[in-house]
């Protein structure tokens, strides 16, 4: 099993499959493009299953490692590997890609091949980010993934899509270019190595550590996104097509958080301790302030976008309280948010496809015409607000526990999310689903079809499974999280 380059397959199957889909050309071949895209997405998911089954949970070392020289002149290697921190994201990503392909099945009628290809290529590139162990390789995937997302938002997005697409691109580019300078500095300091694992062992004085930490903070903070550099996200979400929102929320936001785990904490641990107050403060602002912002949104997609920022604030909080509960809780929260936010955006997509409005005010009484849909939406809204027995609860609870261990008041402020989350999720749900049938559009609604039932059903199963029995998820990350914390506790000065 170890002979098969599983990670390379996880990266390149969707990319080459995407190119193949692109080659089907014009919209006359749209059915073929759809079928092919679905087949590629499933194949891309199937190759990631052995990653979980063959994963050794007793070690924190990198597994499924592949290494080959890429650009020997700068000692850049094609170096892949996953540990407990990253393996779940590869699988999650491959899984979400399937739902995205299904979600765009009927709705996208214009340039179908390009749409499907963009998502598949994007999926492969993001797998590359999660499994890259070489700084430049990471950077290359990180930047390259901007291109398909830019096109997805810009070509198939809403009325203000051009603004949103360019804003998304430039914000992320700014952060990542600063990271490039840091990567080059580390390359020089480590005597000519781009290996992330070598950098983990590299001693650094405190001043450069602080600067490196700040550069990483900008790079990954934009991507997470953290307050106050979050403003691109609501724009991008509102304008993106449903599939784009799903990929953004479920996977792309995790890239920044993953960057903290792979780069900031292990490479500059002293600066991370020194500046943890800053990250914690920004995270709490995100949790509380953005929670209130979400409460007043009139647009459903914007509401879920702000709720994503608030949830991601929880994740960064979990990382910087330096205890196992915090970090594991944060990772669980990331996975759970992957399912829940994807499901929320898909639900909104289901409504939007029928009524072509995302305004909460245009709905009311949906439960009368779409009972099955209302049940699913209920579950996901509950999960979004962190109800016990759903996946949303597990991560938040762990992070709150960890935060209370660290400092009672930080834990206290963080816990307000349970109230705020319930307030904005359920209030929106109430206004959209309950009450009298608001207008004739709602009266004419048809309930979800088999395709929609399929992807919502699978996500609902995931949300419940993770909420009831999170052990298979936390088991995978234990060893790696403990090793990370042990590593971070040792000063590199």
């Amino acid at each position: 099993m170890t002979d098969i380059p599983l990670l390379s397959l996880a990266i390149w199957v969707p990319i080459f499959g995407g190119l193949l889909v692109l080659a089907t050309g014009s919209d006359r071949n749209a059915p073929l493009a759809r079928m092919l895209a679905f087949a590629v997405a499933v194949a891309g998911f199937v190759v990631t299953i052995p990653l979980y089954l063959g994963f050794d949970t007793t070690t924190s070392a990198m597994q499924f490692v592949e290494i080959a020289s890429w650009v020997p002149r700068f000692n850049i290697n094609y170096h892949l590997g996953v540990d407990g921190l990253s393996v779940l994201f590869v699988i999650l990503n491959a899984f979400i890609t399937i739902t995205v392909v299904l979600a765009g099945w009927k709705v996208i009628e214009d340039k179908v091949a390009q749409y499907m290809a963009a998502f598949l290529i994007m999926s492969g590139l993001m797998n590359g980010i999660f499994s890259a162990l070489d700084g430049v390789l990471f950077y290359v995937f990180f930047e390259a993934s901007l291109i398909p997302m830019y096109l997805i938002i810009g070509v198939w997005g809403g009325p203000n899509r051009v603004y949103a697409a360019i804003k998304f691109f430039l914000y992320t580019l700014l952060g990542s270019l600063l990271m490039l300078v840091v990567l080059l500095y580390l390359f020089m300091q480590s005597g000519g190595s781009f290996s992330i694992l070598d950098w983990h062992q590299l001693p650094l004085p405190i001043e450069p550590q602080i600067l490196i930490f700040l550069a990483f903070l900008i790079a990954f903070g934009v991507k997470v996104p953290m307050w106050p550099v979050h403003t691109w996200l609501p724009d991008a979400h509102v304008e993106a097509p449903t599939g784009g929102s799903v990929v953004l929320a479920a996977i792309a936001l995790k890239l920044g958080a993953y960057g903290f785990l792979r780069f900031s904490l292990p490479i500059v641990p002293d600066a991370a301790h020194e500046l943890s107050w800053l990250v914690i403060a920004l995270s709490l602002i995100a949790v509380v302030y953005i929670g209130f912002v979400a409460l007043v949104q009139a647009d459903m997609k914007k509401l879920v976008a702000y709720s994503s920022i608030s949830h991601m604030g929880f994740v960064t909080l979990g990382f910087f309280i330096f205890n196992p509960l915090g970090i594991e809780g944060a990772i669980v929260q990331m996975i759970s948010h992957g399912f829940v936010s994807a499901a929320m955006f898909l639900c909104i997509g289901v409504l939007y496809d029928r009524v072509h409005s995302r305004q909460i005010a245009d709905y009311g009484g949906v439960v009368h015409t779409m009972p099955k849909f209302a049940a699913f939406f209920m579950l996901f809204a509950m999960a979004n607000s962190g109800l016990p027995a759903t996946s949303g609860f597990v991560g938040e609870f762990m992070v709150v526990l960890g935060a209370v261990q660290y400092n009672f008041w930080i834990g206290f402020i963080a816990a307000t999310t349970l109230i705020l989350g319930a307030a904005y999720s359920l209030w929106m749900y109430k206004r959209v689903v309950f009450g009298k049938v608001a207008n004739k559009h709602v009266a004419e609604l048809e309930d979800i079809n088999a395709r929609e039932f399929a992807f919502l059903g699978i996500l609902a199963a995931c949300v419940l499974a993770m909420g009831l029995y999170p052990y298979p998820f936390t088991e995978v990350m234990h060893a790696s999280v403990n090793e990370l914390l042990r590593h971070v506790a040792v000063s590199k000065l």
């Binding site: 890429w70 290359v140 390259a144 899509r161 051009v162 600063l178 080059l184 390359f187």
Partner: protein, 489 residues
């Protein structure tokens, strides 16, 4: 008088091109009826054959001839090959464009060949005089080519501007050369280097000379504050000629910088590095910011070219830090890699403009790219490659060009320079994104199908794919650059 017959062998390629230029001139006079076709194919044949001659006569060790006026070394040979290559592609792209405008006269190809010869002399000069002669030969041919569409007032104006400013720059360069001669007593590069090393030169005069030399080089590269001609000439010249100006001459100017600054004046590297630093920062800032405001894509690419040349200079100025020459090879080869990458990207970008042009219509506004994805998804994808590559996004060659230059800058310890460069790259990304935006997000204004000769389509596709392929596997070109410089330093 004792006359020694010089060794002609190392200069075989130059002699061949010169002879062929004369043959084509005569042949096209006598065979008027087929002159255009003949001149075109004969020129392409000459460029290809010259490549073989260059490869055949290439030697690992530098060889001097003509009383040390001429040097044949690996860097020169490599750059000459790139010059043939880009000139040949530029001619191929431009042929139908010129024919549509009825300016595909045999003289055009003759001038292109003479321009090539001038550049060859520049890259192989080991002495101020052949350097100057080569430069003038190239420039005069270019001035004429800019004015080739003689009924167009705009072209004539651009040519006039180019000529007057170019003549001024030549004057500055010549003045600098004379001062260097006054300070060191020699015009030959190795003798100048020796004199500077022995501190036999008068420092004041030497510095004055250096300033003028740098000014001359900067003019030819088209960097701030000697960039005024660039946007006007790029816009005014026929696109086929803009394509010429923006490609091979940049390589020749790079060779000139290497020969004059690194060969002759390496011992005062920290002096000229300081000057280049100002120039590079100004170019990157101004080039990127001014490009944002352009509606005309030729002007936009002109400003983008200014910023790219500024980026290339970052490599040249990172060679020596506090007297430590350890990084020199790495830095200079990254600059060379950048220059070569830029030429490949520039060929494709202006090639796309030619592709979209047709008889009576010049594609030159950004809006002319509107909805290209509808009209031709394939060429929209190629232009997307070019734009993202120029913006320095992976997986394209432009990313590795930026990476290698920034690596040199960081290795030299100029962090603030690297930060300025990357911040300006973000500004730069905006206008490249705008081109992608009009291609993909907007509906076409112009539904006319794209018609271009098959060879242009094939070559442009190969050009676009090369940008992506070299971005996936940059090692070979990078090593070639390093290897070529290694033999020459």
């Amino acid at each position: 008088m004792n006359f020694v017959v010089p060794d002609f062998y190392p200069a075989a390629a130059e002699i061949f091109v010169a002879v062929m230029a004369l043959v084509i001139m005569l042949a096209s006079t006598f065979a008027r009826s087929i002159a255009r076709t003949l001149a075109y194919y004969a020129t392409q044949f000459t460029l290809i054959a010259a490549a073989f001659v260059t490869i055949y006569t290439m030697q690992g060790e530098p060889v001097y001839t003509f009383s040390n006026l001429f040097i044949s070394d690996l860097m020169g040979s490599f750059l000459k090959l790139m010059i043939y290559f880009s000139t040949a592609i530029a001619l191929l792209y431009g042929r139908a464009y010129l024919a549509d405008r009825k300016i595909d006269k045999p003289e055009y190809y003759l001038l292109a060949l003479l321009m090539t010869l001038g550049m060859m002399v520049m890259v192989t000069a080991n002495h101020m005089l052949p350097m100057y002669i080569g430069l003038e030969m190239m420039s005069l041919a270019l001035y004429t080519m800019v004015a080739f569409d003689r009924d167009s007032a705009r072209s004539t104006e651009a040519a006039m501007k180019y000529f007057v400013l170019g003549a001024l720059a030549s004057g500055l360069l010549l003045y600098g050369m004379s001062m260097i001669y006054g300070a060191t007593g020699s015009l030959e590069f190795s003798a100048i280097a020796q004199a500077v090393y022995n501190q036999a030169a008068n420092q004041t005069v030497l510095m004055f000379g250096l300033v003028f030399l740098v000014a001359g080089i900067c003019f030819k590269l088209g960097v701030v504050p000697f960039h005024m001609w660039v946007p006007d000439v790029y816009q005014g010249a026929p696109t086929a000629v803009t394509l010429m100006i923006s490609t091979a001459p940049k390589l020749a100017a790079f060779a000139m910088a290497v020969r004059l600054l690194i060969w002759a004046l390496f011992d005062i590297a920290e002096e000229w590095q300081g000057m280049l630093m100002l120039v590079a920062v100004a170019s990157i800032v101004l080039g990127n910011l001014a490009a944002i405001a352009q509606q005309n894509i030729k002007r936009m690419l002109a400003y983008s070219g200014i910023s790219h040349m500024g980026f290339m200079l970052l490599g040249l100025l990172s060679g020596v830090v506090d007297g430590d020459r350890h990084f020199a090879l790495n830095a200079y080869s990254s600059a060379m890699f950048y220059a070569v990458s830029y030429v490949i990207m520039s060929l494709a970008s202006f090639g796309m403009l030619i592709l979209l042009s047709r008889a009576g219509f010049d594609a030159e506004n950004i809006d002319d790219f509107k909805g290209l994805n509808k009209r031709s998804p394939w060429f929209a994808l190629m232009m997307l490659f070019v734009m993202f590559s120029m913006a320095g996004i992976p997986f394209f060659i432009g990313f590795f060009a930026k990476l290698s230059v920034l690596q040199a800058v960081v290795a030299a310890g100029y962090f603030w320079l690297a930060v300025v460069a990357v911040l300006m790259s973000v500004a730069g990304a905006f206008y490249y994104l705008r081109v992608v935006k009009v291609m993909y997000f907007d509906a076409p204004d112009d539904e006319a199908p794209i018609h271009a000769p098959a060879e242009v389509r094939v070559m442009l596709s190969a050009n676009g794919i090369a940008i992506a392929a070299l971005g996936l596997a940059p090692q070979m070109l990078m090593s070639l650059c390093a290897y070529a410089l290694l033999g020459s330093l």
